[in-house]
């Protein structure tokens, strides 16, 4: 049952979170930059709305949307981007590794395609434990040409694992168009392994939710994996450093056409304007607080740079002679 206001709220949260984060990148408060998912928010919102709190996700280098939609605290997420000890990962992960195990986020992953087998393994462990958890694994169109993703589709299908493979086809892998990198089709890759694939309008959060609901229900009922191919569009740069190098791989016309189908507007039209304004105001407040919390939080001590390297608490010997 779609909750139009709830979906709108998530899309709006992701949109404004990233806009605020980009400001902090330009202000030098977030070092290293970020991969914004502006334009792609409906995929994260729709898929995560189909999940229960105990369900899990894995995410990508472009993961803010997934992480926020799955329920991470925006303030701790912002603190993570700013490299503070109060961050989700205590400032050790940053944008590309954001994780929150408490709400089922097994981590954003900076290696394209690498999180898919991790999701499958977590799903296998859930089945083995008799839990009815589902794991959704997000990846881009570029990842469908990674061997490990295809290997994982095979395993997940073979063992009927409760995994929902969510491909965000935003048209590009950095500057390379999907059709320039991908022989055959994305759905065809899944179908080759007997995994049902659905192509969905990734700009429409409700459409994504409907498809995700079906995929999640099938997985939970023991029906095995499926793939959602979400057609979406990236409104902004691949990464915030793109504003420096300004590589040209798409024209203004194309950008304008893409931006015309804005998931925020599409979902916003389904929510009464008074309610929408209240949500907008609430989110501004949440993000003001998040930025204040992040920038007011302590930075980690250099002496603790290798804390957490080993789960057993040990630290390696120093690299430089003292």
């Amino acid at each position: 049952m779609p909750d139009p206001a709830g979906l709108y709220r998530t899309v709006r949260l992701i949109r404004r979170f990233e806009q605020r984060a980009i400001e902090l990148v330009h202000a030098g408060e977030i070092v290293g930059g970020i991969h914004p998912c502006l334009g792609q928010e409906a995929v994260a919102a729709g898929v995560c709305a189909a999940l229960r709190p105990e369900d899990q996700i894995t995410s990508t280098h472009r993961g803010h949307g997934h992480v926020l939609a799955k329920g991470a605290d925006p303030a701790r997420m912002m603190a993570e981007l700013a490299g503070r000890t109060t961050g989700l990962n205590r400032g050790r992960g940053g944008s590309m590794h954001a994780a929150d195990f408490g709400v089922g986020i097994l981590g954003a992953n900076a290696i394209v395609g690498a999180a898919t087998p991790i999701a499958a393994g977590a799903a296998w462990a859930a089945v083995r434990a008799g839990a009815d958890r589902v794991v959704a694994t997000f990846f881009g169109d570029g990842a469908v040409n990674q061997g490990v993703v295809l290997e994982t589709l095979n395993l997940a299908a073979l063992w009927r694992l409760p995994v929902v493979f969510v491909c965000e086809d935003n048209g590009f892998a950095t500057s390379t168009r999907t059709e320039a990198a991908t022989a055959g089709t994305i759905a065809g890759r899944a179908e080759a392994f007997g995994v049902p694939a659905t192509r969905v309008d990734g700009m429409d959060a409700q459409a994504v939710l409907a498809a995700a609901d079906a995929a999640v229900a099938a997985a939970r009922a023991g029906g095995g994996p499926s793939l959602l191919e979400c057609a979406t569009y990236r409104f902004d740069a691949h990464h915030t450093w793109e504003h420096v190098a300004r590589p040209r791989y798409r024209g203004e016309d194309e950008l304008a056409r893409g931006r015309a189908r804005d998931p925020l507007e599409i979902q916003g039209e389904r929510v009464p304007s008074a309610e929408r304004e209240a949500i907008d105001a609430e989110i501004e407040q949440v993000l003001d607080d998040a930025v204040r919390f992040a920038l007011g939080s302590p930075r980690p001590e250099p002496a603790d740079a290798l804390e957490f390297l080993y789960a057993d608490g040990s630290r390696p010997r120093a690299g430089a002679l003292s």
Binding site: A99, G107, G121, E151, L306, Y310
Partner: protein
């Protein structure tokens, strides 16, 4: 006392841990029929939920083990040949190993990766004969190379109980070694603690894996001429620097034998650390494979590239004769 092989000791370690801890499970190719012998009897005893035959998909099943570990299991992943670690290097060194730090301590990834026949096997040629333990030690992944049946048992048990990823290399030259052991007395061997197999006063011979047996043979041969202390680090990362320091306090001289390629190999690290920080009264030596070696097929060529007893004898004799310039 029972006469038990190294491979059987590995098998007992997995069996005992699976019986003790229901979170332990096994993934690998043909583990059901136990083509490597390590998993013999496990499928029958523990069932297909815990002993999982995988397709030939090293990247997927290695990453898969990470996910299973994040969900609370303690997988053992078996690789049929050492070169497969190159395929899975990303999943081990870049994923499993980095999860704890990158998540700020939220995650632990207790996966054990086992290669039950690493290094040269006669006639297996270029792509089956590498011994890539130095790569993992370099990356900071816990790396274990047991030399004897009791250490194979004890170190594999500790690896399976460790909350971090651990790669266990069982050298091809050691897996056939047998020992008379009291099976009831087999016990975990802590990671990061070396073992002095033979005490000596003239020179410390650090030997890794199967070369411990060569080192002991050469030390016995040279008895009366040179008193050789044989030190087996057992774990290459973390390394027992205190144990090595204590040995060098006794001898002051060092030879290292390491069955990996010379440049950037663990042998180089041992020699460098000794030179920087430990008591050395003479320049150290190392006996290794050559830089960038690829083992050729013909037996005499294969052997020509591996550390030999002849090289060990020569290195020991030269090290006891030399001293730093005054």
């Amino acid at each position: 006392m029972t006469n038990i092989s190294y491979l059987k000791a590995l098998n007992r370690a997995v069996t005992d841990e699976m019986a003790r801890d229901p979170a332990v499970c096994v993934f690998g190719e043909d583990v059901g029929v136990a083509v490597t012998n390590v998993t013999a009897g496990l499928l029958k005893r523990f069932g297909p939920d815990r002993v999982v035959d995988t397709p030939i998909s090293e990247q997927a099943f290695t990453g898969f083990a990470t996910g299973a570990a994040l969900a609370g299991l303690r997988p053992l992943v078996e690789y049929q040949i050492p070169a497969l670690l190159y395929l899975a290097f990303e999943q081990i060194a870049d994923q499993a190993h980095k999860f704890s730090l990158m998540t700020g301590g939220q995650a632990r990834v207790p996966v054990t990766y086992l290669v039950p026949s690493s290094g040269s096997r006669p006639g297996w040629a270029g792509q089956h004969s590498d011994h890539p333990y130095s790569l993992f030690a370099h990356a900071g992944v816990k790396t274990v190379v047991p030399a004897t049946p009791e250490d194979a048992y004890g170190l594999l048990v500790s690896a399976l109980r460790c909350d971090d990823p651990v790669v266990v290399f069982a050298p091809a030259g050691a897996v056939g070694v047998r020992a008379d052991l009291d099976l009831a007395a087999l016990a975990p061997v802590p990671l990061g603690v070396g073992r002095v197999h033979r005490a000596g006063t003239d020179v410390t011979l650090v030997a890794v894996g199967a070369h411990v047996h060569d080192a002991l043979a050469v030390a016995a041969e040279l008895e009366g001429e040179i008193s050789v202390e044989v030190f087996d680090p057992r774990t290459l990362h973390p390394f027992d620097w205190a144990g090595l320091a204590a040995s060098l306090e006794r001898t002051g001289r060092l030879v290292v034998v390491d069955d990996s390629n010379r440049s950037c190999g663990i042998g180089g690290e041992i020699v460098a650390t000794a030179a920087e920080q430990l008591r050395l009264t003479a320049p150290p030596r190392r006996v290794t494979r050559p830089d960038g070696a690829v083992l050729p097929f013909a037996r005499e060529l294969d052997l020509a590239l591996q550390p030999s007893r002849e090289q060990l004898r020569a290195a020991l004799r030269s090290v006891v004769k030399t001293a730093w310039e005054a």
